[in-house]
């Protein structure tokens, strides 16, 4: 079936480096450094990445960071809590914009 997303395309990510390789290598070096143990552990960073992957709704990222979270020691409870954090921020962001809506309503209404 024709679809814009193919699971096997995740393994082809490096093909992006075939064009403008110097930028790809800079991206890759930075990307890898971001996920190294630091003030946050690799597991904690993978959980953040998983949550962000859902908010940007990237199926490749969801695939990659579901695996990464498990390999770095997270369990499904931690992963699900990370999703709720992302979902709460998305929900909260929607609701907090209601203040703007209310301002418009109050300004325009008698």
């Amino acid at each position: 079936m024709e679809t814009y997303y193919h699971p096997k395309d995740l393994a082809r990510f490096a093909e992006i480096g075939d064009s403008v390789p110097e930028l790809w290598h800079k991206f890759l070096a930075w990307y890898n450094a971001v996920f190294e143990d630091g003030a946050l552990s690799e597991r904690e960073k993978a959980l953040i990445a998983l949550a962000v992957a859902h908010t940007v709704q990237c199926p490749y990222c969801i695939d990659a960071y579901s695996v990464s979270c498990l390999e770095k020691g997270a369990d499904i409870e931690q992963m699900t809590e990370a999703l709720h954090v992302a979902a709460a921020i998305r929900g909260g962001a929607t609701l907090v914009h209601g203040v703007q809506m209310r301002d418009h309503v109050h300004k325009l209404s008698m």
Partner: protein, 339 residues
């Protein structure tokens, strides 16, 4: 609480995967890059052994657990137990050589009727002794004093624990195993195990719970030390992350979950030539319960035997021996390696 087993052994179920030849055939049929080619490509093949640093004896396949990832297909129903004549031949080799370490594995090696004798004799010879402990064995009737015995002989305990939370541990090893493992670890800790100043070494081993590669060992060790201490008051020395070998009951899981090809592809793609120099098979001699010799415990389960047996070999005969390899060996060379 009694440990609940998950499935009976492949052996008991008369499953086709109980056959090592069948297992090898499945891996060969995947049409992936041959391991021999990967090693040659790294300009390090064919692989040869160095001096034997570790005599690893698999004293039998009896175990009180039936873990889902077990490469041995060990379990309570397995009848294989190392007989006296093999045990004596192992000690002859140990006495006639300078092999510094005796590594006792199984099954649950402590269930062997002469386990304590083996430990005491190896210690008397001045050898370092490692016990591959599943932890829950210490909770069985008649085994409660096992930690004291091991401490008295200053045995290094390498204990299996797949996760520092209950759900993933029990999913791999059986319901209630995590709780019993924590009880066992606390017992070892009360004797001084896991504390740098005592010299009583308690190392943990984690295998991924699923078709996954292990995470970064150093990072996981830091997290485990913090979490096991915080949640359960447990301390340990080192955490080793090991890759699940695509053999035995883990192979069964890979097939049943439709993960075999994907998992093997990941292992092959993660081949790291830097791991080859430190492969455990280069410094280990593995002895089967029946006296057959192998390069490692994984080869043992696939019956990739050496031409010699424990009855007709000296340590010198085995130096520089050609190592038998096959597709499962990608499990030891993936990522940071698994030895």
């Amino acid at each position: 609480m009694a440990v609940k087993t998950l499935l009976p052994t492949l052996h008991k179920r008369v499953h086709p995967l109980a056959s090592p030849v069948y297992q090898q055939g499945l891996l060969a049929d995947l049409a992936l890059r041959p391991f021999t080619e990967a090693v040659a490509g790294a300009a390090q093949g064919p692989l040869r052994a160095g001096h034997i640093e570790v005599l690893q004896i698999n004293v039998g396949k009896r175990c009180n657990q039936t873990c889902r990832h077990c490469h041995v297909d060990a379990g309570p129903d397995r009848p294989e137990v190392m007989p006296r004549e093999v045990l004596e031949a192992c000690f002859r080799l140990l006495e006639q050589s300078a092999i510094p370490t005796l590594d006792i594995t199984g099954g649950a090696p402590e269930l062997h009727p002469h386990f304590r004798e083996m430990v005491a004799r190896a210690c008397a010879l001045g050898r370092h002794v490692i016990d591959r402990c599943n932890l829950t064995v210490t909770q069985l009737p008649n085994y409660a004093d096992l930690p004291e015995f091991l401490a008295t002989h200053r045995v290094e305990v390498i204990a299996s624990l797949p996760a520092c939370t209950p759900s993933r541990t029990d999913a791999q090893r059986g319901e209630g195993v995590f709780e019993q493992s924590i009880l066992a670890l606390r017992h070892f800790n009360t004797l001084g195990y896991g504390q740098e100043e005592t010299g009583l070494v308690l190392n943990l081993v984690t295998n991924p719970v699923g078709a996954l590669l292990p995470g970064n060992q150093a990072s996981l060790e830091r997290e485990w030390k913090r979490e096991l201490q915080r949640r359960y008051g447990v301390v340990f020395n080192r955490l080793y992350t090991l890759t699940n070998m695509p053999i035995g009951r883990f192979l069964e899981f890979l097939i049943a979950s439709d993960n075999l090809e994907g998992y093997m592809t990941r292992l092959v793609n993660a081949f790291n030539p830097a791991t080859v120099v430190g492969l455990m098979c280069r410094s280990t001699l593995s002895v089967g319960w029946d006296g057959q010799l192998y390069n490692c415990d994984f080869n043992q389960m696939l019956e990739l035997a050496l031409p010699q047996t424990i009855f007709d070999v000296s340590a010198q005969d085995l130096d520089r021996r050609l190592l038998r390899v096959d597709q499962h060996c990608f499990g030891c060379t993936a990522g940071a390696g698994s030895t």
